[in-house]
């Protein structure tokens, strides 16, 4: 008996739509691609980085972008002595809340440091850009101590 013909159909798993990050998050990510960081002014005038679409207290739609610095200050940090596989670094590092120069609200990212003793609340840090920037939050590879 001959082998029955096997029916074949190519199948590509994919999304049938594209997703826009919108005018606020999209602007921030596009600026990252250009190695620039922008924040947005909240209802009370505080500069929020990364920018939010709406003010969490007043629900006002926000639109006034502000360039902020690529250096800032550590507001709080957590020392990861055993990085997890998913973490952005494979050697001990810190997660930190970083208030960039010109911003009023800290952002969370990772900080490269040789040891826990080298890092402290109040320490100055600066952005380390990824080799290739593509408009993701990971365009900021990490921060490093100044």
């Amino acid at each position: 008996m001959s082998q029955p013909e096997v029916l074949n159909q190519a199948f590509e798993l994919g999304y049938t739509y594209t997703r826009s990050t919108g005018p606020v998050i999209g602007r921030f990510l596009t600026e990252l691609r250009n190695r620039n960081i922008v924040g947005i002014k909240a209802s009370d005038g505080r500069v929020v980085v990364p920018p939010m679409e709406y003010d969490p207290n007043t629900a006002e739609e926000l639109s006034e972008f502000v360039d902020v610095g690529q250096q800032g200050e550590i507001v709080s940090f957590a020392w990861v002595k055993e990085p997890r596989e998913a973490h952005p670094m494979d050697v001990p590092f810190a997660w930190a809340m970083i208030k960039l120069d010109g911003a009023d609200v800290p952002m969370i990212h990772c900080v490269a440091a040789p040891s826990e003793d080298a890092i402290a609340t109040g320490a100055r840090v600066q952005v380390v850009w990824a080799d290739e920037t593509i408009g993701y939050i990971t365009d900021i590879r990490c921060f490093e101590l100044v």
Binding site: V48, P56, F77, A78, A86, W95, M97, V105, I108, E116
Partner: protein, 352 residues
Amino acid sequence: MKEIAIVGFQQSNSVSDAGAVNEVEMIMPVLSRIFQQVGINNAQDVGFVCSGSCDYLQGAAFAFVAGVDALGAVPPIKESHVEMDAAWALYESILKIRMGHADSALIYGFGKSSPGELPIVMSQQLDPYYLAPLWVDSISLAALQARLMLDQGLITERDMAEVVSQSRRNAMNNPHAQLAGDVAPDDVLAQEMYLSPLRKADICPVSDGASAMIIATVEKAKEWGLPYAIISGIDHCIETHNLGMRDLTDSVSTRTAAKRAGMGAGPVEVAELYAPFSHQEIILSRALGLGDETLINPSGGVLAGNLMMASGLSRIGEVFNRIVSGEVQRGIAHATSGPCLQHNLVTVLEKA
């Protein structure tokens, strides 16, 4: 408005690894016990069923539907689900009863967290553009919060160790606890840092298990002839997802929820607080203004065992147990969700 009462509560043991036992097999013994406690046959005998669970724990879309297999939903039942802790399933059930669509409800929550890497799974509940792609885990975020408090002199490491010690000691009286023992604060402080400024003991364990509750109108509770506790208030409140815009050293949303739930209308003899990290118990008790007159986490709290999606419901069940046993007349239970106590629910329970 119809008064609503809790008539039954059951919980599984908190275990670090349930092994081959699947979610349905974790839920079924708890349901079997609660049907026996209330004296009903099955889910057909209540007017509404609502569960709380998280598909991310199982890593499959609509995984919660399988939980219904534990109910035997034939003939059809009125059923709902929240992708939240089952404390919020209780909230939905209360609304259902208040709307007059049911006079009793079964609520259950379950979570088998052991197969995955829970702190990393939790990173995917964060802002999808700014935080989730960094895979910043739940323990690291809590560590950032703890350091803010330590730096500002709001707490000391010893304060945190005392919370752990009290939890371990209280848990010695909790047969369902995963971590219990006569642990002194100095024993905790002697531990090395795990994710500085947190020690492993400051962090709730990863646990598998389930819990279930049955509520009813007071008329129905009387008809069943069961001891019950009144839910005199329940409310919840959420803060922004932007951690940088929150005061992480306080819990404004817990305070608001407690006020709206009517906590201040009487003494708080017992409080069960959902604090997955030692410093968070201090944040919560301060936000609620709890003092020496309140017994906090007599069960040991979730530092003694943290059933994701069920422990919030269990906090309420623990207070219910203490009221129907006659130990206390009035107490509050708190449930939380999201990073660093983002979303909080407060329930006020009173003796009938």
